[in-house]
Symmetry: C2
Subunit: 222 residues, 2 copies
DNA sequence: TTGACGCCGTACCGTACGGTACGGTACAGA
DNA sequence: TCTGTACCGTACCGTACGGTACGGCGTCAA
């Protein structure tokens, strides 16, 4: 066990969203894992990873400790790659706000329905249920931090700025986020996770995102 | 392989929501599986089921064919137990509509955050990602049919009745469902599935449900 | 040149688990 | 009483896979 991770730079201290620093070779391996997860979901074997990445098991275990470590590193590596659209801060106007929200929603929909996101979310959901105490494998936690939580950390300041600018009105600070999340995502995520054949086109995403932004402003706009 | 299932009454022909007819003893076994899934998630062993239900492996395989068959039967058995609140049909008023929606949302939130639903959804999500062609194991399909789809089959007529009564206005028939789903559920389901510590009290569920109903009517009411 | 090091490839070990086989028991019907 | 059936309990088999050990090879520094 011994939590090896020799070559890896970052420690595992609550580094959920900090960009881990992996060597080039390590990133190749992690990308191979990502590809495998898209193809076979969780449940890929370590041997398959070695075959795919042309590396040895020994190296794998030296670098990542055990299977859970590899999985965790993979999720963190992918999380570090996701980029979110920039949100305006100062000098908000109503149209700027609506555009920002629509753009954000469209991007988020695209991410959530991507094969990669689906595979990772599935893995995280699976692991969240194993082992009652859920001892190790903080996969769910990591995905949560880089998913809904990250989304909220980006949106809440925007909502606050909107209220300061007199564009929005709400009491409970948690309310607008939940409403916007619901309007934008709806049942899309659970459908794709359950394997429903949901293939959103770019146009559909834009349409839904625009609608969500409009409806959100109808509810919380002044 | 031979798809045994000797004693079982119903056939597996698209019986996703029809109440399967299991013998009393079989239902005991399936309840044991449900309990195990709550405790250990998917990944319980067949031996554990036998221990829990005091039955033999041979019987298990005679009845359910293989592990996937047992899992499928369990999900169907649980689905057949879920009851949804009755929705009004004729003589709708605005307040009746709002009450119905709030009640429906509150009930749905309670179901989604129950340990049993979480365990089953997790299992279905996991299995939806295994085996690229997703050959067997229609777990995701079943949960989808008895989850969001069932919800929608109940709500759509209500929305249509509301429109007929002049209480609602919408173009796309799919729109109000998605909006209501989003407003009611928000990010709650994905959070619980990912293991986030979300413990909604009865009061919180009622509050959110009432808010969702109110907001829905603000968007689609006349 | 030599040695240390990091890594690949592969063989190997232990175990957990899905699935099968079989003996033993209770019971129902002839 | 005999016979068939349905089931329990358990021993057993085959395999897949996580994890380890080891030999060989290229590289780099002394």
């Amino acid at each position: 066990m011994n939590m090896a991770v020799k070559t890896r730079a970052g420690q595992e201290t609550a580094a959920d969203e900090r960009t881990e620093e992996f060597s080039v070779r390590q990133r190749e391996v992690l990308d191979a894992v990502l590809a495998l997860m898209v193809e076979e979901g969780d449940g890929f074997s370590m041997a398959a990873v070695c075959r795919r990445a042309s590396c040895s098991k020994e190296t794998l275990y030296n670098w990542f400790g055990d299977r859970d470590g590899l999985l965790t590193a993979t999720v963190q590596w992918q999380a570090s790659k996701v980029k979110m659209p920039v949100l305006p801060g100062e000098g908000l106007s109503r149209v700027a706000l609506e555009r920002a929200l629509a753009g954000f929603a469209a991007n988020w929909l695209a991410v959530l329905t991507s094969d990669l996101s689906i595979a990772l979310n599935r893995a995280a959901v699976s692991h969240a249920g194993q082992g009652a105490g859920s001892g190790k494998s903080r996969l769910g936690e990591i995905v949560l931090t880089n998913g809904p939580d990250a989304m909220r950390r980006r949106l809440d300041p925007l909502f606050a700025a909107g209220r300061d600018a007199g564009l929005l009105a709400f009491e409970d600070a948690a309310e607008p986020f939940r409403a916007f999340f619901g309007l934008a995502i709806g049942d899309t995520q659970i459908r794709v996770l359950l394997g429903g054949t949901v293939r959103l086109t770019e146009a559909e995403r834009e349409h839904r995102a625009a609608l969500a932004a409009k409806q959100f402003l109808a509810l919380y706009g002044t």
